[in-house]
């Protein structure tokens, strides 16, 4: 099915199952420990041996010699595989650095060997016996320094690397009566998902079965085939449950490659999990940014000029962090400039992390908006409202399909008690606490990817959905079941959903907040086909057949749905493809974040007191799981605002705090009760589901709302994330 005209009325609009806050269907399995994750397939891969990865101890250079004799002789060891044993390996399309290094080393903790043994303890001990001599080369590890000579970069392969301009920014900025010119920094972030990267590989002749933890089954399978130099049809790639990804598991990583190579060498299934202290330098991270924002406005608060420039770094042939994307679309203004610079760094590979681009970009832009509002003497909610736009500022003929940012801001302000905020900072206290409130807009574009599904109607009347879509905690199992139930007129209990298996049709996968809208649309397309097949079997006209309450009705005839499969299971498959409505309309999601913080007037310690988000993202398929996506993103936003930072060792080129003790993420004590409001709406231009993603929207802007609240509490503006107490302690208001 191709979606190329805005959706009319369809069975999803009945909202009998879709749109209901149902408990997740995978809940009982997850809460009882019965859901099998990547490393837990004892039944499917019995007698698996254990692989333990050895990582490079230098950031750049060459292995001059490697002694694996002791490791090979250690008790229980079955095989040791290094680059020389592995032979020539390809590099996956989505990988920047090789997944097995040697003799050249591209980054610290790049995998250089896997040791396979009978037990985990033996493999780990033997891995410690691998002795490596290196010839260390000089690397580039200092972003600040490297950006001085870094060239312009483009955020996509389709556009050349040049600044994006509308009107004449320089002239308009020079002429503006009120101006801001400020620089912001965001550090490198780690996804720090709870399930470490892990894979089990089992060969059957020249066929390979891999149980892994991956957001994008088809990307992973294709890149594994490329890496191993084999046809992808011979690989079965499975991730029925993924213990968090946040973009870190978009791509094939070395655990799958090492398991496959180790299994081949050992002649039996091999399981490999990355250790926590290894994975933070071995895998990808969100790159640090250095951003400059200039805003010029008239005294009435109308923006006349806005510029956002950002620099980041990555390995050779890497990609920039597209931190300026939202600034092209979020606010009005006739004169605009955005640009990206990309420096070459020899740190571990930078890549997508939840809301790549917008997450760090909004952390800067929405603080700049707060600063500008203060300079103008305007309320920051009002300043944003005055600069709303209903069209793409660069192409005014192109409207937003839906844009209710103003309503999000107004409703949020109302709900949060924003009028109680004192515009003068450092004026409100509660005992030892300085109290402040902050606001930020939320913005993230909607994206659709082709997505396929197979649906079966069994003789028992059960509908089974099969798609290689993944559920990384987002609720895919449940919203897909809701979609199929709604389409086939069944209660959700009569739908079975099978995900994350490359033997199922290729889906959008999970990422870029495209998963929910795309994958349910693929299921919609397959269900339309199944309805046709059912109608045909029953001799009904599919145009007027009504699927409801487990029955199919046409005129005054009515039959049990199961009846259609009595002569044999019905199986159909379809893929949703997309026209160019995303060119006609700018399709985006919006929201507003409100945060109240307390800052200890004596120690500078910052605590979150209240959080509220108002979001609009088209139809909300399941308000319960959607709300969880929002609060989870808000929590990650608190991390980015107040604590998360990979500390770079600029001498040796690695992230120093590479575990969950050193890399701090929010814990229970950091997060108060969180409130979320969804605007009720549908967006018929995006898909027959009329739903957009929210998984990343919730993260965009929340960090700035926290930082703005801290400023409102203290009167000290910190522009370098994370906002930690050492950065404002010496400037806090005097204590009596």
């Amino acid at each position: 099915m191709k979606f190329d005209t805005p959706a009319g009325t369809n069975p999803i609009d009945r909202m009998k199952v879709v749109g209901k806050p149902l408990d997740r269907i995978d809940g009982p399995a997850k809460t009882t420990g019965m859901a099998p994750y990547a490393y837990e397939h004892h039944r499917e891969a019995p007698n698996a041996a254990y692989g333990y990865i050895v990582g490079a101890a230098i950031a750049k250079g060459r292995i001059s010699s490697m002694n694996v004799a002791d490791a090979k002789a250690a008790p229980g060891v079955l095989a040791v595989v290094t680059a020389s044993e592995a032979g020539k390996l390809g590099k996956g399309k989505y990988n920047t650095a090789k997944l097995l290094g040697g003799p050249e080393i591209d980054h610290y903790h790049q995998a250089i060997a896997v040791v396979v043994a009978e037990t985990f303890e033996q493999a780990r001990a033997a891995a410690g016996l691998v002795r490596v001599s290196y010839a260390r080369a000089t690397g580039r590890f200092d972003l600040e320094e490297a950006l001085k000579t870094a060239p312009l970069a483009s955020g996509s392969q389709d556009t050349p690397p040049k600044p994006d301009r509308v009107g004449d920014f320089e002239q308009a900025f020079a002429a503006a009566p009120v101006k801001l010119d400020a620089r912001y920094t965001t550090p490198d972030h780690s996804h720090a998902m709870m399930e470490p990267f892990a894979s089990i590989a089992a060969w059957e002749g020249d066929r390979l079965n891999v149980w892994t933890s991956n957001q994008m089954i088809d990307w992973g399978r294709t890149d594994l085939a490329t890496t191993l130099g084999m046809p992808k049809e011979k690989i079965r790639f499975m991730s029925p449950y993924v213990g968090g990804g946040f973009g870190g598991k978009l791509f094939l990583r070395t655990d799958a490659v090492m398991a496959a190579l180790g299994a081949k060498a050992a002649g039996r299934p091999v399981k490999v999990a990355m250790s926590r202290p290894f994975l933070m330098n071995n895998t990808t991270h969100r790159p640090a940014t250095r951003q400059r924002i200039r805003i010029g406005a008239n005294r009435d608060g109308k923006i006349t000029a806005i510029a956002h420039e950002s620099g980041s770094g990555d390995l050779p042939n890497g990609r920039p962090e597209t931190a300026v994307t939202q600034t092209r679309l979020l606010y009005a203004g006739a004169n605009r400039l955005t640009s990206l610079r990309l420096a070459v760094l020899d740190l571990p590979e930078g890549n997508s992390m939840r809301a790549p681009g917008e997450a760090p970009g909004m952390m800067a832009l929405e603080v700049a908006m707060d600063e500008m509002a203060e300079t103008l003497g305007l309320d920051p909610v009002e300043f944003r409202i005055r600069n709303d736009t209903q069209v793409d500022p660069a192409k005014p003929e192109r409207r937003f399909s839906q844009r209710n940012l103003v309503r999000c801001l107004r409703e949020g302000a109302d709900r949060f008690g924003w009028t109680r905020r004192n515009a003068q900072p450092a004026q409100v206290s509660d005992g030892r606490w300085l109290v402040g409130m902050g606001v930020a807009a939320a913005f993230r574009n909607h994206v659709s990817l082709p997505s396929g599904a197979r649906v079966r109607l069994g003789q028992d009347g059960i509908v089974t959905v099969e798609t290689d879509m993944t559920d990384i905690g987002t609720g895919s199992y449940t919203i897909i079941a809701q979609t199929a139930a709604e389409m086939m007129g069944l209660p959700i209990e009569r739908v079975v959903v099978k995900l994350g298996d490359s033997s199922f049709p290729v889906s959008s996968g999970s990422g870029g907040q495209f998963g929910a809208g795309s994958s349910t649309s693929g299921v919609y397309a397959a269900c339309v086909k199944l309805r046709d097949a059912v109608a045909q079997r029953l001799g009904y006209s599919s145009a007027d057949a009504v699927f409801d309450g487990g029955k199919v009705r046409s005129g005054n005839r009515s039959t049990d749905l199961a009846e259609a499969a009595r002569a044999g299971e019905l199986v159909v498959e379809d893929t949703m493809e997309w026209g160019d409505l995303d060119k006609t309309y700018q399709q985006s999601t919006f929201g507003a974040h409100f945060v109240e913080v307390g800052v200890d007037r004596f120690t500078g310690m910052i605590r979150i007191r209240r959080m509220l988000a108002v979001a609009e993202a088209g139809r909300i398929l399941n308000p319960k799981s959607a709300r969880s996506q929002m609060i989870g993103a808000m929590t990650m936003g608190v991390g980015g605002a107040l604590m998360e930072e990979l500390a770079v060792d600029k001498r040796f080129g690695f992230f120093v705090n590479h575990d969950l003790a050193g890399y701090e993420v929010p814990v229970h004590a950091d997060i108060p009760h969180q409130e979320v409001i969804f605007l009720e709406e549908v967006d018929p231009t995006v898909s027959p589901m009329k739903a957009k993603g929210i998984g990343e929207l919730g993260l965009c802007g929340v960090g700035a709302a926290v930082a703005n609240a801290v400023y409102n509490a203290t009167g000290v503006r910190v522009r370098d994330y994370p906002v930690t107490l050492d950065k404002h302690l010496d400037r806090l208001p005097a204590v009596a």
């Binding site: 399995a29 809460t31 998902m193 709870m194 470490p196 905690g473 814990v667």
Partner: protein, 218 residues
């Protein structure tokens, strides 16, 4: 010292040996410092001999013969195939491996299995099943107190144990008094749960699930 090639080479051996035996590792380090032999290979660690251990897990007696380096976590996951208990960090930093030993929660990754001879252990599988959920498991489902589900068994084991700690009067860092009986307040529960990281950020919902159960028990 970081610049000394002799020491850095021998330290590899020390690290390798230390997994097997702290005593041997210390001896190796001493020998290396005295002789500073740049070419000396690390002493081969003797193969650890399996040790018998008997545990009562979820009411069932389990007799195992384990490499003494095996953590309680790996004994559960890799030897008993009770994979509900998760390995998130293997370093006591995340709480995903939380189980109850003699009714008290511990990080099972920080404890060797052979240290638990005769102990009674309850894992997530021992609390309830998909058809018969423990009240805390049901409350997590109802309040959507999880997303990816990987930290969830540890969160639930901790949540059950935390309410028991409060009931038994064990104080925490945020308890107003060390002698008065602590109450199951939001801040008291959040403080005690802070060793269980949820990167998906379900904290607000977990707090609601716990509050519901704490209210029922009060």
């Amino acid at each position: 010292m970081p610049n000394s090639p002799e020491i850095s080479i021998s330290r590899r051996g020390v690290l390798a040996g230390s997994a097997a035996s702290a005593v041997i590792a210390a001896t190796t380090a001493g020998a290396a410092q005295r002789a500073a032999p740049a070419t000396l290979a690390p002493l081969p660690a003797p193969a650890p001999q399996p040790m018998p251990v008997s545990l009562t897990v979820n009411g069932k007696v389990q007799r195992l013969s384990l490499d003494p380096r095996t953590t309680l976590l790996d004994a559960l996951r890799e030897h008993l195939h009770l994979t509900g208990t998760k390995k998130g960090c293997d370093h006591g930093q995340c709480g995903a491996c939380t189980v109850m030993v003699e009714g008290v929660r511990i990080n099972s990754c920080l404890s060797l299995a052979v240290m638990h001879e005769g102990d009674t252990i309850t894992t997530i599988e021992g609390l309830g099943t998909p058809d018969k959920l423990h009240p805390m498991q049901a409350a997590f489902v109802k309040h959507d107190g999880y997303q990816c589900g990987y930290c969830t068994p540890g969160q639930i084991c901790s949540a059950v144990a935390v309410l028991d700690e409060i009931k038994r009067g064990v104080p925490s860092h945020v308890s107003v008094s060390l002698t008065d009986h602590p109450q199951a307040t939001n801040i008291e529960m959040r403080e005690r749960m802070s060793g269980n990281i949820c990167r998906c950020g379900a904290y607000s919902n977990i707090a609601e699930a716990m509050a519901e159960i704490a209210g029922e028990n009060a």
